[in-house]
């Protein structure tokens, strides 16, 4: 009968292994750890984005934007004032839910994040900003627009993106420009919005701004629906019954597609669709799938600056890595990390107070978006933030269909098409 083999460690193996470990430990007291000690420290940045759930398409893009900027900074030698310290991105997923976003941010801070960024959704931003105030961790939001996030005199919260008020001002300004230029004035309008914090705040604000704008456009109905809705047939029937001349949608990816297709099916006659400022109308897959149906939609939105050298460089790297262009949200995520790197460079420390002092002195110009220099006011909002008016216009190249039509210094097309041909006559 065979003797059972001893699967444990025999004496010779034990001696060999312990000798190797001993030699390793001895060696490490001399040359090896000196190399390790000489390596620059790593600075962890926590990024919470909606990587799953109904906003995953944006969240994944934002993560990629964050990571691209981290890779760029590291490739350029890291944070030079801190011995070339490398940046490391810690990833959190809000699942598009504020409570999850907060717990993810907490996890990243416990994991060593010295600065937080993200999170696209205003509701999630509110939750994370409260946490960051408690934990005394600077929170440089790349995208999140609701004014209330920075309204409460928060010390550690800053915003690279534009506020809802800024968006609304831009929206009214461009709407006046279009109606004056085209000498066409809609009389009746319907506002639609998703029922998340941003959707409610943005559409409520739009209704108020429209009333104060002096434009003779009556908002005849406001249609609100849940985030991630799958069917808008009943809502569009309601829109049709209100007989609007123009539609002001505050949407999210997905519902813009459903809304447009349903407007087509139910033959809702409109002069045009004008987005006061929200996604859902310019993403590459939306442009591709809706094709002619998405033509002539205008959206007032913080946008990329295609002629900026920073954008060109970042876009080339993004296209190489992900086979798609750097859209506005990803570009803002990219900008957020560039701003953080600039702040760390000037702070030369990860001490929260030094980071705060450097943040307040920010004057960042080398960014890839339509914006003035990024500077923060006493509330933490970016005083240089701007919006652009974009319109989807016919072009054989899918990637060139979204064009900046205002402001003129950034414009890619000198024509604005309004009123638009009806959806079913294209």
């Amino acid at each position: 009968m065979d003797q059972p083999k001893n699967k444990g460690m025999d004496r010779r193996t034990f001696i060999k292994t312990s000798t190797m470990i001993g030699l390793g430990v001895a060696a490490s007291s001399f040359g090896v750890p000196k190399l390790l000690r000489a390596a620059p420290p790593t600075i962890k940045i926590g990024s919470v984005q909606p990587a799953t759930g109904p906003l995953a398409v944006i969240g994944v893009g934002q993560r990629r934007g964050n990571q691209l900027a981290v890779d760029y900074i590291n490739a350029m030698g890291g944070i030079k004032s801190m011995d070339g310290a490398k940046l490391e991105l810690l990833l959190g997923d809000s699942e598009s839910k504020p409570e999850v976003g907060r717990s993810e941010a907490d996890r990243l801070i416990n994991g060593g994040a010295k600065v937080m960024t993200g999170p696209f959704q205003s509701g999630v931003a509110m939750a994370i900003s409260t946490l960051c105030e408690q934990r005394q961790v600077p929170f440089i939001m790349d995208v999140a627009a609701l004014d209330a996030i920075t309204d409460k005199g928060k010390k550690y919260t800053f915003r690279v993106f534009i506020t809802v008020s800024g968006l609304l001002e831009g929206g009214i300004k461009y709407l006046k420009m279009v109606t004056d230029m085209k000498k066409v004035m809609p009389k009746r309008a319907v506002v639609t919005n998703t029922a998340d914090a941003f959707g409610k705040g943005m559409s409520g604000g739009w209704v108020k701004f429209m009333e104060k704008s002096g434009l003779p456009i009556e908002i005849v109905d406001r249609v609100e629906f849940p985030l991630g809705i799958h069917d808008l047939s009943a809502e569009v029937a309601r829109i049709k019954a209100a007989k609007p001349d123009i539609l002001f949608p505050v949407s999210r990816p997905g519902d813009g597609i459903i809304l447009t297709r349903e407007l087509y099916k139910q033959r809702v006659e409109l002069l045009g669709i004008y987005g006061p400022g929200s996604p859902g109308w310019y993403e590459p897959d939306v442009i591709k799938d809706l094709d002619k149906l998405i033509y002539y939609v205008m959206v007032n939105v913080p946008w990329i600056n295609p002629s900026s050298p920073v954008y060109k460089q970042a876009n080339a790297a993004f296209e190489k890595a992900h086979n798609r262009y750097l859209d506005t949200n990803s570009a803002y995520a990219y900008t957020g990390v560039l701003v953080i790197a600039d702040i760390l460079e000037r702070a030369a420390s990860t001490d929260p107070e030094k980071i705060l002092a450097a943040t307040r002195q920010t004057n960042f110009k080398n960014h890839p978006v339509v914006s003035g220099p990024i500077q923060f006011d006493e509330k933490g909002d970016n005083t240089g933030a701007l919006t652009a008016l974009i319109q989807v216009q016919p072009d054989a190249d899918l990637l060139k269909r979204v064009k900046i039509v205002a402001p003129t210094e950034f414009a890619q097309s000198d024509k604005i098409i309004f009123p638009a041909p009806q959806l079913w006559k294209r």
């Binding site: 029922a195 609100e224 849940p226 991630g228 897959d285």
Partner: protein
């Protein structure tokens, strides 16, 4: 039809398939893939997609569900919720998070009777839903495998005693439920943009429909689905659309209070 598949699985095995919506999403992606790669309209690929998801369902039942049938109900939930998460993340990995809305031949077609608009895609989905329910009904009532499924559903021990391979029957039942859901997913493809997270809502809605119609009752699932769909649509005329789910759950609570066995009765 999604509820029909869920009801079939529950009716036979007493297991609630919490991966149901995600299986539907998988079917939608397979159909989308076939459309993009081969140009085959979703209606034409329906049978192929249903067959693929049938095999997937068979494998899930054989590898996971058969092992947990005798566990307490609370413990049956976790493996199927996990399966749903795996399928959702697999879709995210394979196709990315983007919303996809293929321009199918009939996707934007409508019929007009005076001022009334009829969405052709919805009309086809409705007609095929009734046809498929009828076919499954015939399969269960008239065929040998249908009789075996009903026997295994009625009395598992009795079915084993008379020589029915109950494990194989269970595999077939789960696969049939999965294929029905796959067909529903294909019919939905022209109607809504596709993304990996879509499944949760449909699992929940199907669950409400199944309770409404009666757990395990196939006709109940069809009628329950109709009632819920009409109630949600009509409610948007009087209430904010954000209260759609509140309407569904209110109906669910009322049914559970006054007719806990569902409208058409079913397993308790």
């Amino acid at each position: 039809m999604i509820a029909l598949g869920l009801s079939l699985i529950f009716g036979v095995m007493g297991v609630i398939n919490f991966a149901h919506g995600q299986m539907m999403v998988m079917a939608m992606y397979v159909s989308y893939w076939i459309f993009v790669l081969l140009g085959l309209d979703p209606y034409l690929s329906l049978v192929v997609v249903a067959a693929i998801i049938f095999v997937q369902g068979y494998l899930i039942q054989a590898s996971v569900v058969n092992r947990i049938l005798d566990y307490p109900e609370a413990m049956q939930v976790l493996p199927l919720v996990s399966m749903g998460l795996i399928l959702e993340n697999l879709a995210l990995l394979l196709w990315g998070p983007d919303y996809r809305s293929p321009q199918t031949a009939l996707g934007l077609e409508t019929l007009w009777i005076g001022p009334i608009m009829i969405d052709v895609s919805r009309l086809i989905a409705f007609a095929l839903a009734i046809l498929i329910t009828f076919l499954i009904f015939i399969l269960l009532k008239k065929t040998n495998i249908g009789k075996c499924i009903r026997a295994a559903s009625d009395n598992r021990t009795g079915a084993i005693v008379v020589g029915i391979n109950v494990d194989r029957i269970y595999n077939t039942s789960f696969a049939l439920g999965a294929a029905t859901t796959a067909a529903a997913g294909v019919l939905l493809l022209p109607l809504m943009p596709l993304s990996p997270h879509l499944g949760h809502d449909f699992t929940l809605t199907a669950f409400i429909v199944v309770i409404l119609g009666g757990m395990g009752n196939l006709i109940g699932a069809l009628v329950g689905g109709l009632i819920l769909g009409v109630a949600e649509s009509v409610s948007t005329l009087f209430l904010p659309a954000t209260l759609k789910h509140a309407v569904s759950f209110s109906i669910l609570i009322i049914i559970m209070l006054f007719r806990p066995q569902g409208l058409f009765g079913g397993k308790k």
